[in-house]
């Protein structure tokens, strides 16, 4: 059974014709366009598929519930909701760049200025500690120390030891008895 010296389309070729008739070899395509038998087989195949689709369509129940789109709440950061995300992203990037530059200027570009400031601070701390130590040694001002007769600032410990020897605690010093 041949038409135009070609065998009729077999099942696989019919399936291919349904999917994409252009994918058939040109000779087979030419045969299909001229052979009423093959055209009829193709139509029958298509009808089967269409019927399957219409049966499926008919045997699906109708939805009982309507689709309702709830009111979409605005996000907490409502100020930014109107801006596209790319704008927000570029603003965040710009902020990061500014922060990075500021950090570099403060901690890297001006280290000398920062070191000088630290040295001054250490000096001030030293002066303050000297004043505290002075007050620990001599709590009263000089005028009061003169009145109270406790102005021993000129007398150091060695001189005092020479004038008034220390009493040894281990009892090795000669007793008056």
């Amino acid at each position: 059974m041949k038409t135009d010296s070609l065998i009729h389309l077999h099942e696989d070729q019919l399936a291919l014709a349904i999917v994409d008739v252009g994918a058939l070899p040109s000779a087979v395509r030419d045969h299909l366009s001229t052979c009423p038998g093959c055209q009829e087989k193709k139509r029958a195949f298509e009808l089967e598929i269409e019927t399957l689709g219409s049966m499926a369509h008919r045997l699906v129940p109708r939805p009982r519930r309507r689709v309702r789109i709830p009111e979409i709440k605005k996000p907490v950061f409502g100020w930014f909701s109107g801006y596209p995300s790319w704008r927000m992203a570029s603003a965040a990037c710009a902020l990061l760049v500014v922060f990075f530059l500021g950090w570099n200027v403060y901690f890297k570009v001006l280290p000398e200025r920062r070191l000088a400031g630290l040295e001054k601070e250490i000096q001030r701390d030293g002066q303050f500690m000297a004043e505290i130590n002075d007050l620990v040694e001599n709590p009263l001002p000089a005028a009061y120390r003169a009145i109270s007769g406790e102005d021993y600032t000129e007398v150091d410990d060695d001189l005092m030891d020479f004038i008034i020897p220390r009493v040894e605690e281990d009892g090795s010093s000669p007793s008056p008895a």
Binding site: A15, M55, A56, L59, V60, P61, R62, P63, I69
Partner: protein, 210 residues
């Protein structure tokens, strides 16, 4: 992006064709809530059908359809090519159904482990039509189709369903699934060859034709 007034009026009067849908899509992208509602009314049943075919449960299909439209509403402003709305919407639907099946599998695994009964797997729950004859036909049809789908790979089944049950074009299927058109054709071709060998379903379809 100024809309042609006559075009918009025509779309209001007779929605349904692709060019008219495009008008609504364009309006919806610009934030027109009423236009999105029109799109819901146009696509509600096709999307519900698409989900029902894959879940075989009316309640689940209704829930998922609702989710799909909410997701579409939230992200429609990001849609760049308005003429691709249909494939974009179906891609949301395909992903949502896939998530549903993943969660269901996970749930069923834990329920089987703990000995609990799996809800939604009872056919009485899935097929709840009050007409008994139609229910028998429905069970018979979906049973045969399920048997046929069992012989297909995941992608063959998806492509066959989208082409012949959801009536999508090859381009729309390719866009929805994120595959090349030649891949879609290959899988459709394989599915069709298997379909021709499926005697049960062919008999059912043949009975319907004659």
């Amino acid at each position: 992006m100024e809309l042609n007034r006559e075009q918009a009026r025509a779309a209001d009067e007779d929605p349904g064709t692709d060019s008219q849908n495009t008008v609504f899509v364009r309006r919806a992208v610009q934030g027109d809530r009423a236009a999105f509602d029109r799109l819901i009314s146009i696509f509600h049943e096709p999307i519900f059908r698409m989900v029902y075919v894959r879940t075989r449960s009316r309640v689940d299909a209704e829930d998922l359809t609702q989710d799909i439209f909410i997701q579409a509403f939230k992200s429609i402003r990001r849609l760049r090519e308005v003429d691709r709305f249909r494939s974009w919407l179906y891609s949301i639907a395909v992903n949502r159904v896939r998530d549903f099946h993943r969660k269901k599998r996970l749930r069923s695994f834990f329920m089987i482990s703990s000995g609990e009964e799996i809800p939604g797997t009872d056919s009485k729950v899935a097929f709840d039509d009050p007409e008994p004859l139609k229910e028998v036909m429905r069970k018979d049809f979906w049973g045969h189709l399920e048997g046929f789908f069992g012989k297909l790979s995941r992608l063959e089944k998806e492509v066959f369903t989208m082409r012949f049950l959801d009536q999508l074009t090859l381009r729309e299927i390719a866009e929805s699934l994120g595959k090349g058109e030649s891949t879609i054709k290959t899988h459709l071709y394989r599915a069709l060859k298997k379909f021709r060998k499926e005697k049960g379903i062919l008999k059912l379809v043949g009975g319907e034709i004659h």
